[in-house]
């Protein structure tokens, strides 16, 4: 709109406004600059560089040599762990995200009922997410330790089921990591964000629904749920992005084993880059991963229009 003002022959007053406006724009960029510089130096530049590396063979010691699409072809043809690692990552995210997001929402709903002592409970639920990930992983390995751990005896006492050897068996290592993720994430920031969403629902809506004869369930179904769909969406998108990048818990608990059982995609990239020093190949893996995540997020954004309700915004 100010471009039109600039196009008109400037009178004294106009020049005054446009000088102020110019100053405003300049200040805006000035405040933006820390991020802008960081973006180009630490995100855009490196991302572009790894895109170029992805078409090369590069072992750090000798300069990269251009090999065209070979890295991408290798991923689909000769790399034995490409598909398995991707599938395991999808399995991990596919189970842990729905359970985790639902769990956080349920806990937030419980905490949103006004009873005495909610702040104590809130702290109890939040505590696992405060335990640093390396520490919580070490702790979880110890909890699930089949001989001296606590989980299997409790399982035996309560249900009579002989617990599996968790992290030591290929079938149970991923479920063990999922249970760790649920323990650390259900009561964490995600739950607080849900709590914020729930507290943001205006009381008038509940009152109006009650006057119209809506019961507890109807109010939940037709007021609470639609009003918090933006929060559900937010947590879902970030939850999926986070879960697909699972690395530290698997690295610390099992190092990718046993028998590649927890060799997630991020581990596959890490091993290729920093243990086998196939920087070019690892870059190709990373870019395919980025493409997958961007595609999944795009799909979610597109489908969100069908179920996310941004009231009046």
């Amino acid at each position: 709109m100010d471009t039109s003002a600039a196009a008109v022959a400037p009178t004294a007053a106009r020049r005054g406004i446009s000088a102020r406006r110019r100053r405003h724009i300049l200040e805006g960029y000035l405040f933006l600059s820390p991020w802008l510089v960081g973006y180009f130096a630490l995100t855009f530049g490196p991302a572009a560089a790894s895109f170029i590396f992805s078409f090369t063979s590069y072992n750090v010691i000798s300069p990269p040599t251009f090999i065209g699409l070979q890295n991408y072809v290798d991923a689909f043809t000769t790399d034995q762990q490409f598909w398995p690692s991707l599938m395991k990552t999808v399995y991990y995210a596919g189970v842990s995200v729905p359970l985790g997001v639902t769990g956080s929402l349920l806990v937030a709903l419980l905490l949103n009922i006004k009873v005495r002592g909610t702040s104590v409970f809130r702290t109890l639920f939040f505590m696992p997410s405060l335990v640093p990930i390396v520490a919580s992983t070490v702790l979880w390995v110890w909890m699930l330790q089949p001989d001296w751990g606590l989980v299997n005896p409790i399982l035996w006492k309560l249900t009579g089921i002989q617990g599996p050897r968790w992290f030591q068996t290929p079938e149970w290592a991923i479920p063990a990591l999922i249970s760790l993720a649920l323990w650390t994430s259900i009561g964490g920031t995600r739950m607080i964000i849900f709590l914020a969403g729930l507290q943001g629902v205006p009381d008038e809506l509940y009152d109006a629904a009650s006057i119209d004869g809506a019961g507890k369930w109807a109010r939940f179904r037709h007021v609470t749920v639609p009003m918090i769909t933006p929060t559900i969406f937010f947590n879902l998108v970030l939850g999926i992005i986070g879960a697909l990048q699972v690395f530290t818990s698997a690295f610390v608990a099992t190092g990718g084993g046993p028998a590649y059982a927890t060799w997630f995609y991020a581990l596959h990239i890490y091993k290729n880059a920093f243990q086998y020093f196939n920087m070019g190949y690892a870059s190709a893996l990373a870019w395919m991963f980025a493409a997958l995540i961007i595609f999944l997020t795009w799909v979610q954004l597109r489908t969100s229009r069908m179920w996310v309700y941004y009231g009046g915004e």
Partner: protein
């Protein structure tokens, strides 16, 4: 007619009162059960850290040690350079946290209060960086920092914080700043305040909950971070607590003596600062998120 109408409400009130008590009791019960099961793993770790090596390897497991072995903590502290590792983690946080808080405030202020060509585009770019997996930038960043001679220094873990502290941080602050009425800025402008004064004397004081939230998230992020320090720090005396704990975990049991109880003690030592910090600031932290109401 009139009699039944006036008689009806009290009956209903009593019944719904009874129902409400039942709901409250049920809620309390569920909260209690969940609360105990959520905190149980950590409490058990605490208990394990106070056992003797023999007590750790008993079946069925003992809930509590016969005599709490506080000396385990002294042992792990003196046998492993835990003090050094904690100090390294703290050093990184002391130098990076102010940078992240200050620059994210500036950037969020730019997004929330300025109107310039490209602003909305840059904001979309900012949001989209949340989607980009760190693996994409990790390798070139590593090569860049290597070329700068930053390997085995804290620089790769500190300097990037001065670029706005990450997309989520900027996003959170921007959302919060948008909830502050612009009338406040305008009033200050009329009084002759400049942009910096508006930021410093109006936005920042009103944003204390959000800024505290950001500071806590940054602290936890650095305290938690494993891959960064693991890649950039190779010397044992430079390890952060995360890397050190993992190092201790993978270390072979040299004397043949089991070390689980000591490992658990180290785990507790690492967790306590984060938990204490949260307890101290939890009121602000929760309010910061609740008042922002995060959504895209």
């Amino acid at each position: 007619m009139a009699a039944t109408a006036s008689a009806a409400p009290p009956v209903r009130t009593i019944r719904s009162e009874g129902r409400r008590t039942a709901v409250t009791a049920l809620t309390c019960l569920m909260l209690a059960v969940l609360g105990v099961s959520f905190s149980f793993p950590f409490l058990w770790t605490l208990s394990s850290s106070l056992k003797t090596a023999q007590e750790v390897h008993v079946f069925p497991p003992l809930l509590l040690p016969e005599v709490p072995q506080w000396y385990n903590y002294v042992r792990v502290w003196t046998e492993q350079p835990i003090g050094r590792w904690l100090l390294n983690s703290a050093t990184i946080i002391v130098f990076s946290l102010p940078g992240a808080v200050v620059t994210s405030t500036l950037v969020a202020f730019s997004f929330a209060r300025f109107d310039y060509p490209g602003r909305d585009f840059f904001f979309m770019v900012l949001l989209s960086t949340m989607m980009i997996p760190f693996e994409v930038t990790l390798i070139p960043q590593y090569l860049l920092f290597q070329r700068l001679g930053w390997i085995d220094t804290f620089a790769p873990l500190i300097i990037p914080s001065y670029a706005g502290g990450g997309a989520f941080t900027i996003f959170l602050l921007r959302q919060f700043f948008l909830t502050i009425p612009r009338d406040f800025d305008d009033a200050a402008l009329v009084d002759g305040a400049n942009t910096f004064q508006i930021l410093w004397q109006i936005i920042v004081p009103l944003s204390r909950p959000a800024l505290t939230t950001v500071a806590i998230l940054q602290f936890l992020g650095h305290w938690n971070d494993f891959l960064g320090p693991f890649i950039y720090l190779n010397k044992q005396q430079l390890f952060t607590m995360s890397v050190g704990l993992r190092f201790f975990q993978t270390m072979p049991e040299s004397t043949g003596e089991p070390k689980e109880h000591l490992l658990m003690a180290a785990t507790v030592i690492m967790s306590v600062p984060a938990i204490v910090l949260f307890f101290a600031a939890q009121r602000y932290f929760i309010r910061g998120i609740v008042m922002t109401g995060l959504k895209f």
